[in-house]
């Protein structure tokens, strides 16, 4: 989570220096939740569909920094080859789908990945996880996808990162229940509520939810509570967030809390943490430098087709199928 924070701070600077075109969306304040989830998953086995604020989860799941910097900086060598940007990157072949912007849409996709594995007789303790925001809990896609996963009893872990706002829209204009975890029962699935500013709390709840899904308990809904500690994107100063909320418990910086927890519990020393910081800063710097020196995509080299099939197809001489195509 620390690495993600350092990376994102760098992205923010690059954006402000005009080196990144398009938006920059940070997960500041949500790293404890996201990283805990990423850590609880096993790349190569599990599926993880990260959303807007999941830099920490991506890194924990195994996404190399260079995938991030290449995508943000528009290198042709990035996973999206300049065709899509920023947080829309993914590596579906490695179990990490590339989000579309339409919120909620990844929920049924992860369900489908798990469904496919079960059909292939290859579910094998796999889980699939995705995160969405408080705002996205109001989408039809969230509802249909989660309900379908519940009906199919798929090992889906869905984290709602309730960071109190959807862009500028506060919770009270988004839903009318007290805690979104109250939705779990209506779907017939497991439900957890956790303080997302508290790494230790996350570390006890989220892996437990993952375990239950893994062991056949069906979908698990985890609602994590925190505040978004930056604007919606780096173009937004988030000034609509009331000072009282910023100052309150949810406004705590989960990274500071986590460092204190590490030190207080004797898990890591201050020196160690500072050393990590230096090391991560160097890694980030390298990934940025490399991406920056890489060529952008070249429109003249593009094939400009959205289809995998190359038409026209060869003529088929036989009536037998499935010889053609």
């Amino acid at each position: 989570m620390l690495k993600a924070r350092i990376l994102e701070n760098k992205l923010s600077s690059l954006y402000k220096a005009g080196k990144i075109v398009g938006g920059v969306y940070l997960g500041r304040g949500q790293e404890a939740v996201s990283a805990t989830l990423g850590t609880a998953l096993v790349q190569g086995r599990d599926f993880f569909a990260p959303l807007i604020r999941d830099q920490a989860g991506r890194t924990a799941f195994g996404e190399p920094l260079i995938d991030c910097t290449r995508t943000y900086l528009g290198s042709a060598l990035g996973p999206m080859r300049g065709r899509d940007g920023n947080i829309h990157r993914g590596r579906p072949e490695l179990g990490m789908p590339a989000m579309i912007s339409h919120l909620g849409a990844q929920v049924p996709v992860v369900a489908g990945m798990l469904f496919a594995r079960r059909l292939r007789g290859d579910l094998d303790g796999r889980v699939g996880a995705t995160c969405i925001g408080d705002g996205a809990s109001s989408t039809g896609a969230f509802h249909e996808g989660l309900n379908l996963a519940a009906v199919e009893k798929l090992p889906l872990v869905l984290i709602i990162a309730n960071n109190q706002f959807a862009y500028s829209t506060p919770n009270h204009r988004q839903f009318a229940c007290t805690d979104l975890v109250e939705k779990a029962r209506g779907y017939g699935i497991g439900g957890f509520s956790v303080d997302g500013t508290d790494l230790l709390a996350c570390a006890s709840v989220i892996p437990e939810a993952v375990r239950r899904a893994r062991e056949g308990g069906g979908p698990q809904l985890v609602v994590a509570h925190m505040l978004r500690l930056s604007g919606h994107g780096e173009h937004d100063d988030g000034s609509y967030v009331p000072e009282t909320v910023r100052r309150g418990h949810l406004g705590r910086d989960c990274i500071e809390v986590a460092m204190r927890q590490l030190v207080e519990n004797g898990i890591a020393g201050v020196d160690e943490i500072l050393a990590w910081q230096d090391q991560f800063a160097e890694e980030v710097q390298k990934a940025v430098a490399q991406a920056q020196q890489e060529a952008p995509p070249d429109p003249y080299q593009e094939d400009w087709t959205a289809l995998a099939t190359r038409f026209p197809l060869p003529h088929c001489n036989s009536n037998a199928q499935p010889a053609c195509p």
Binding site: P79, P97, S101, V109, R117, R120, T309, H315, P322
Partner: protein, 321 residues
Amino acid sequence: MSVTYIDAIREAQATLLRDDPRVFLYGQDIATFGGAFKATKGLADEFPGRVFDSPLSEDAMLGLAVGAAIEGMRPIIEMQFADFSSIAFNQIVNQAATHFYRTGMPIPLTVRLPSGGTAGSGPFHSQSMEGIYAQYPGLVVLTPASVSDAYHMLIDGVALEDPVIFCEHKFLYRWLKAKSINGDHLPIGQARIVRTGKHATVVAYSAMVHEAVRAAERLHEDGWEIEVVDLRSIKPLDIDTVLASVARTGRLLAVGEAFPWGGVTAEVVSRVTEEGFHLLDAPPQRLNSRDTPVPYHPKLWAAHRPTPESICEALRKLLSF
């Protein structure tokens, strides 16, 4: 013994389930019940664990299909009616259609859309959405007009690496019969000349091919020889075959059952005029449905869509130039 259009669709799915372990079927009421139109009748029994009743969630059905395709499967999704794909619209046009371009990973899924009007079906069980989906990059849009095409194009479509919108015409389901499902097996993307002629070309697809042929038969009695081209696939569109036909006849009428603004007929006419202007001896014409929702009452419906009569009328006008 004869095979209907819907038999062919059922058989194609049976063949696919038998031959390709990656194929599964997901849709509302398609398992035990065999689907609203019985296109999957008996398949759940014949292929246990491969045919699933879905919840009433078109958006999630398509999302599931995308996820399953990512993990190597070839889902076939049945929409109960094409009209309900409006709920799955986002997953189709923004998730499935963009995936290969964005990530390099193809999404081989097939969405079956029971399309087109029948008497008494009304505004929400009659729509022809091929021209909507064809506007989006990344989709293949198929519109079989014959029993044999319904069979082969479904099998060939599922074999493609891309998301396929398979528009089946509900009117043809039981009305259209053939001796067998064999027939000229053209590749996807190629149009077929279903009737040769020399005075004018009618370009049509799906159920309208049959209305066009009827119109051609009537005009034949008056000495006109009308060529009828069945597009078969809306996207890609085989403009070469159309141009070759127009080169022979010099006259073009494009007929479609969808709403009149834009859509297939506009694409056909503008492609032909752009690439084959010099071939045209007369202004190319279009005939579509009227610009209202599809009306419920059979009398209104019959006046809403192109018919052999209105096609004849349009052809007479075209031939008079």
